[in-house]
Amino acid sequence: MHPAKSVIFFTTISGAGFGFIALLSLAICFGIAAFDTALFTSAIIAVGLSSAGLISSTFHLGNPQRAWRALSQYQSSWLSREGVLSVITLAAFVLWLGSAFVTGHAPLWIGAAIAILCGLTIFATAMIYAQLKPVPRWHSHLTPASYLGFGLSSGILLFASLTPSVTALGYISMASLILAWAIKMMWWQRADKTGRDADGSTLATATGLTGYASVKLFEAPHLTKNYLMKEMVFEIGRKHATKLRRISMGLGFVLPFILLMLAAFFGAPIIICASAAFLLHMTGLFVERWLFFAEAEHVVALYYGK
């Protein structure tokens, strides 16, 4: 599948933003975060990241001026649900935090509800891809699990870098990195075994020419690439997949983990280590997300002999 930059940015950044909002809400509820300027800054960053991700997702639209219409079909469409959930979550967080600043009181249940809404938003983002049966590699429960894992790990890393006073966050960050990448490795393991024919789709079933010894493309409908081939028969990704996986894990897991170890056990300043770890983690996630799209095969490629 074609890896659109706006969509890669959207899925990674808004994942981090909503992960961070969830943690901030819980931290406020449990009294870990105080109502000070640091919390105010954190909240602005969290809302900013989520909104930036959402806005960037409109950049790949053919008619972005109509994007508001995407909030209407929540009954059937995961993309619509994702839009509705993110708007509700952001609005609830801003209103709740605003009222908490004024009254100094933040009801615990609302914070917990916002954290759940954040999880649902990330889940809906992942389901946009996981629902697609013609892309067997994505069509798995592991896809939302992996998106949730990375939303959590990037949220915690960001929280740790903005809240250096809470030393436990360093350990929690390390645990979240292990969890998120373990899920991703399971995802990759499944993906490698899940070819385009996972549901039994072959050129024979695609053309109805079953019962033959072989069917192959003799002549394509046209000589140059069309929309379908540009969008769904993207082939560059698979060439360097192994190297890129190592790069994404190196940037997204190994280096951040070493930095967090340095902070936790060797007294390196947590604020620098955690911030660097967060930035490296996001860079690793950009590579991971690029591969998520670029490696995915769509059954329509069968008609083009690919």
Binding site: L61, N63, R66, R69, S72, S76, G83, L209, L217
Partner: protein, 264 residues
């Protein structure tokens, strides 16, 4: 609303005969011609006269080589056949392109099962094209909206057209009569009878989309060149010899040629 309607009682669709299609692309050309001036935005082309042209088409013709197998499952390359394969929207009963649409632009009509795009509501996100296993939807680069086969909804109900033109442009233009249009929910309709008689199939049934359009598989070959039977496949050389009239200086092909030229 992008929820699918109740099972339509009328399911308009196409039946495409892979035994007959000659791969002339006339259906695709007439489709482009009609639909670029018909329903919704024009079907744009990019770099139309340049080195790498591309454009929006609602119907494309692929050609495949199929090698049959014998009773033991061994390939019989001498019986290989070319199958021309026109592909357009199949107007699926369980159309995933409809349910994934976030805006409600994509919908399936309750009255006849036609899957359409309301181009004024389409944001051009492209998710419906990703959800379609068949590649039936193409984004128009100029308009930024999704285009797809409308089953020529602006022809089939159009009282301004003569009655014989009230069928999809691809069906109307097919010189080989390989494309047929009708109600596939009615078991008595011509198309349903044809599907039953010829064992019409669904494309990629494993994807679970329940397409309305059906494809009629190529008929098995009745004879092969190896077992050429004179009644079925006349020996042209022999025929030419027989046709040579008495008095001609030459026999065989040259004699036939001489004869034919003399008669002109």
């Amino acid at each position: 609303m992008t929820n699918l309607p109740q099972e339509p009682t009328k399911k308009l669709g196409l039946v495409i005969d892979l035994d007959i299609c000659v791969g002339c692309h006339a259906c695709a050309v007439n489709c482009k011609e009609w639909n670029t001036g018909g329903y919704g935005n024009a079907l744009s082309d990019q770099d139309a006269y340049g080195a790498s042209p591309s454009g929006t088409w609602l119907n494309r013709i692929h050609s495949f080589e199929a090698i049959p197998q014998d009773a033991q499952g061994q390939p019989v390359p001498s019986d290989a056949r070319i199958v021309h394969f026109p592909k357009s929207c199949l107007h699926c009963d369980d159309a995933p392109c409809v349910t994934v649409c976030p805006t409600g632009a994509s919908y399936k009509r309750a009255e006849d099962g036609i899957v359409l795009v309301n181009e004024d509501h389409c944001i051009g996100c492209g998710l419906c094209a990703w959800a379609c296993a068949y590649g039936a939807r193409e984004m128009d680069e100029a308009a930024g909206v999704m285009k797809k086969c409308t089953l020529c909804v602006d022809r089939i109900y159009n009282d301004n057209l003569p009655e014989e033109d009230r069928e999809p442009a691809c069906v109307r233009s097919c010189p080989a009569n390989a494309r047929h249009f009708g109600d596939l929910a009615d078991p008595q309709s011509d198309v349903s009878v044809m599907v039953a008689a010829r064992g019409g199939v669904d494309l990629m049934p494993e994807q679970g989309n329940r397409p309305v359009n059906k494809y009629l598989p190529p008929r098995p070959k009745t004879s092969s060149c190896a077992s050429s039977n004179e009644e079925e496949a006349p020996n042209l050389v022999k025929l030419a010899q027989e046709n040579t009239r008495g008095g001609a200086a030459q026999s065989g092909f040259l004699g036939w040629l001489d004869n034919a030229l003399s008669r002109m």
